[in-house]
Symmetry: C2
Subunit: 161 residues, 2 copies
Amino acid sequence: MSRVQGTESFSFNHTMLRIKDPKKSLKFYQEIIGMELLDKHSGGDFTLYFLAFPQKGDENLSAEEKAKNRFNREGILELTHNHGTEDDPNFKGYANGNEDPGRGFGHIAISVDDVEKTCERFEQMGVRFKKRPSDGKMRHIAFILDEDNYWIEVVPKKMSL
Amino acid sequence: MSRVQGTESFSFNHTMLRIKDPKKSLKFYQEIIGMELLDKHSGGDFTLYFLAFPQKGDENLSAEEKAKNRFNREGILELTHNHGTEDDPNFKGYANGNEDPGRGFGHIAISVDDVEKTCERFEQMGVRFKKRPSDGKMRHIAFILDEDNYWIEVVPKKMSL
C-alpha cells in the first residue's frame, strides 16, 4: 500500500504509561520482559524511561546511537515516573484502564514464539497472571500484570484466530 | 545487547485502546494518521481492528499475508469496539488516562520527519490539538486528540533533548 500523502514518514514510535516505582518497573521490564533501557530523561520532578526489545542490526550500535535511534523506530515503551509516588502512603496507584471509572486503554502486548513456555518462565519468576493460558476459552493467549497492574497480553507470533 | 534468556523471540506487538465509534476512529487513523487496516476480528458483541503503518517490504504482501504478519511485527494499534457505544446516549465515553480518576496510560506517539509541516496538515484537516508546537516550552513537539480524546504525541525523528 502506498502511504497517505503527508504521512509518508510516520512511525508508531511509542506508548507511554505512568509508573509508581521505577526500581520495580525497570527490574520487571528489563529482567522479566527482556526489554533494554535505551534512554532516560529527567525533567525536574519527573523522569522518563525509554525501553524496547533489541532489534536486528542493533548489535553494532553504541548506547548513544541506540538512544538517538529511539525516535526512528517502533515498539518503544515510555515509562513516566512522577517523583515521590514510590514512597507516598497517600498515592493510590494508577488506573490500569480496565476498570470503571478509568476504562479506556486496555493493554500492551508482546508476541512470542511459544506462549506455554513463556508463561512457565513467568510462573517461575513469580509474575502475577490475569489469565493463564489454561483459564477460560482462549487457550492460546495469556495476560500477565506488571508492577502497576497494567495488563500485558502474551500472544503467539503464529496466530490462527 | 544479547537478549535475556527466555525472551529471545519477544516483540512489543501492539497497544490496545477502546473506541466509541469505529466509523469515526477508522476514518481518523486511516485518513489523517495514515495507518493501514491490517485485520479485523469479530467476537460477538465486540470487534477488534488492527492498524499499523506500512513497513518496508510490505508492498509485495497480499492483504491476507499482511493480516497474518500482524503478530510478527511491532507498532500495531488495536482498537476495540464494544458494540452499541456509538449510539448509546448514556455512554459517557472512555477515560483517556490523563485525568483523575483514571490517570495511568498517557499517550501513543508517532514520530515524523517534520513536526511543523505535519501539524499544518493536521490543522487543515480539522484535527483537534491538545498542544500545538507553538504552545508552551516544548516547541519541537505537539499533542493532538483522536476521536476518543486519547492523546497522540507528534515527535521529530531527529530529536535533540
